[in-house]
């Protein structure tokens, strides 16, 4: 899970829980205050009812004056009033209650008041009930029950409206906050993405170290990574050096052993066997040494100019083969490759050495662009060429197509190994000249 995803999901969770709790609290508070307001209003109605109802001399309940709200007069208006004698001898109802069953229950003591909800006529209502006693002229008291009921529809509608507003505002706030949070995270994590893309460049061998300026926290990390890269690089160099030293110190005794066996002219079968084993050891050392010394993708190397390298090798080879007049033509359409100088030297050295060994008088070295920002380098000669059947054989280390020309038989196989490390390939074919054409693909320098 990415850092951004973690932070985003945590923020989302916190925000949603917080908003829910806030919403619930606000909802409850509003409801309570709305209910309290309702109760206040109904108490007003109740007091009006108390003032409006009289008991006539026959003990019947009558309205002494009009009730304060016209809704009491309209049938089915949602606002109802009722006064009832506790003994049931008389019940007075507002006009709005005419079509309905009377309000029942609530045997309250005088002075007692109860605010409640009541299912009434199949609809929820607030009900404010009050117990009182009417003192007659003769001093007797008649207990009366006063009730005021109001349909909750308006109230519920108000709550609903409030809720709608509340939740839509809260949801928009959550969305807005998340959006802001996302932007903040992107902005905050941008240096990390920068580091990651810089590291990818290092991996691709385009740069050697982290070079950008980063925020303090990440700069420390970048410095550590740079130190690590440097120490890895110097460690690699040490490994290579010590391998070189090891090869040097192993090969000299190997040379001595080989010579001892050769100078011992009474060659028994065991000597031949020993010679063979020595040859194997020699090949193993050569191969492993070359392998270890190969840098492969060289992050440290910028584009490497091919022309001077090829010129040096040609001059060196012309010196060794001074008795053999060789014309070397070079046509470099791509002038640089992206690889380690030592690796390039090994590959080109082996190819050019082979060409000098086998050619009659002409060698051609060409480069041209190939697909995917790579280059194709071919070394051709006018020698006997490599027969189709032997082409696979010469790529196996230790195999020599012909033992008449000196060499340790790991040349082309080695070149192939290095080329493969650079993600390229080696092809043996027939060139424009009569002899072999060895072509390799390598990453091109920009």
């Amino acid at each position: 899970m990415s850092l951004q995803a973690r932070l985003m999901s945590a923020a989302l969770l916190v925000l949603v829980v917080f908003t829910l709790l806030t919403g619930l609290a606000l909802d409850k508070a509003f409801r309570q205050s709305a209910e309290a307001a309702m109760q206040d209003r109904m108490e007003g109605y109740l007091f009006a009812l108390l003032a409006a109802v009289d008991v006539n001399d026959r003990g019947q309940l009558v309205f002494g004056r009009r009730l304060p709200d016209v809704r009491f007069e309209q049938p089915d208006s949602g606002l109802y009033a009722q006064v009832r004698r506790a003994d049931g001898r008389s019940t007075l109802i507002s006009a709005s209650l005419l079509d309905h069953a009377p309000i029942t229950g609530d045997h309250l003591k005088p002075g007692q008041q109860r605010f409640s909800r009541r299912q009434f006529n199949g609809r929820p209502h607030f009900l404010l009930a009050y117990g009182a006693s009417w003192e007659q002229a003769d001093g007797t008291e008649i207990p009366l029950y006063y009730s005021v009921a109001e349909d909750m529809a308006a109230f519920l509608q108000q709550i609903d409206r409030y809720r709608q507003t509340l939740w839509s505002w809260l949801a928009s706030a959550v969305l807005l906050l998340l959006l802001v949070q996302w932007q903040v995270l992107r902005w905050g994590l941008r240096p990390l993405r920068q580091v990651s893309s810089d590291l990818a460049q290092i991996e691709a061998g385009q740069v050697a170290r982290l070079q950008g300026r980063y925020p303090a926290e990440i700069q420390q990390l970048a410095d550590k990574i740079n130190n690590l890269l440097d120490s890895t690089r110097s460690q690699l160099q040490r490994y290579r050096d010590s391998l070189g030293n090891m090869a040097h110190s192993l090969k000299t005794p190997l040379a001595i052993l080989t010579n001892i066996l050769e100078s011992d002219r009474q060659n028994g079968p065991s000597d031949a066997e020993a010679q063979q084993q020595l040859q194997r050891i020699r090949q193993i050392i050569d191969y492993q040494l070359q392998h270890a010394a190969t840098a492969g993708q060289a992050a440290s190397s910028g584009p490497l100019a091919l022309e001077p390298l090829i010129r040096r090798l040609i001059e060196a080879m012309q010196k060794v083969h001074r008795h053999k007049p060789v014309t070397v033509t070079t046509r470099l359409a791509v002038s640089s490759c992206r690889c380690d100088e030592g690796d390039a030297m090994e590959m080109l050295g082996n190819l050019i050495e082979n060409a000098f060994k086998w050619c009659n008088s002409r060698i051609e070295i060409t480069t041209r662009p190939a697909v995917g920002n790579s280059l194709r380098l071919c070394v051709e000669d006018d020698g006997p060429g490599i027969a189709e059947a032997q082409r696979q054989r010469v790529l196996v280390r230790g195999q020599r197509a012909d033992t008449a020309v000196s060499g340790n038989g790991i040349g082309l196989a080695m070149v192939q190994e290095i080329v493969l490390l650079y993600g390229g390939r080696l092809e043996i074919g027939q060139g424009r000249l009569t002899g072999a054409a060895i072509c390799i693909t390598l990453p091109a320098g920009k």
Partner: protein
């Protein structure tokens, strides 16, 4: 032909000496760079075999020093690492050929012979002069098809003269090229070798292959033949 062996590993040094001596060369050997540089500057060698990885002064530096002082004898470098960087550096410093350790005796001798031939302008293994045929790899000498029995030193004198036809070669030069440093040099011995060679090559005194130039030295007088 006198060869300098520069190799710091004593056993390999001894083997190189033995191989080259057995092949008929006069051999001097040293084990470190500074000594090698001195030896090469002070003595007229015909060839040097130099290990690149020397203690003190490296092989490349030794060769460079020789070339700076106009010591132009061919140099064969030995490298253990076999890295191209090393080979090219050696060749650029002035070496003429390279070999990667370990190597076979035959290959070493073939390279040495090739370099010596090249230095004297010869192309083939066989030198032909008048009725003489000298196979430098087998060290066989024939006159009109008749094989001559020569001692190692007689052969060296003959080969040196043949490699420099028409040139006047002093007794000192001959001594320096057929003996190594440790040998007790007596230039009178050269006269003895020359005398024996004349008798063996030219028993009836008809060819007169070696001229004596009094007070100056000897000269190979026969024309190269095909």
């Amino acid at each position: 032909m006198r060869i300098l062996v520069v190799e710091d590993e004593p056993a390999l040094n001894a083997q190189l000496q033995n191989m080259l001596r057995a092949a008929g060369y006069a051999v001097d050997a040293v084990g470190d760079g500074h000594e090698a540089r001195y030896m090469g500057e002070e003595n007229p060698f015909d060839l040097a075999v130099v290990d690149i990885g020397l203690p003190g002064l490296s092989g490349v530096e030794v060769i460079r020093a020789w070339r700076d002082r106009q010591r132009l004898f061919p140099v064969l470098i030995l490298t253990a690492r076999g890295r191209w960087q090393e080979k090219v550096e050696g060749l650029e410093a002035g070496a003429d050929d390279y070999m990667v350790k370990p190597f076979h005796e035959e290959e070493l001798l073939a390279r040495v012979r090739a370099l010596l031939r090249r230095a004297s302008g010869q192309v083939k293994n066989e030198i032909r002069s008048g009725p003489l045929r000298v196979d430098t790899s087998a060290q066989r000498v024939t006159v009109e098809g008749q094989e001559l029995e020569l001692t190692a030193y007689e052969y060296r004198v003959l080969e040196y003269l043949l490699m420099h036809p028409g040139k006047v070669i002093s007794k000192t030069e001959l001594t320096e090229h057929i003996y190594d440093q440790d040998f007790d040099r007596d230039s009178n011995v050269i006269e003895v070798f020359i005398g024996r060679l004349r008798r063996k090559i030219d028993a009836d005194n008809r060819l007169r292959p070696i001229e004596t130039l009094r007070g100056r030295g000897y000269r190979w007088a026969l024309e190269p033949s095909t």
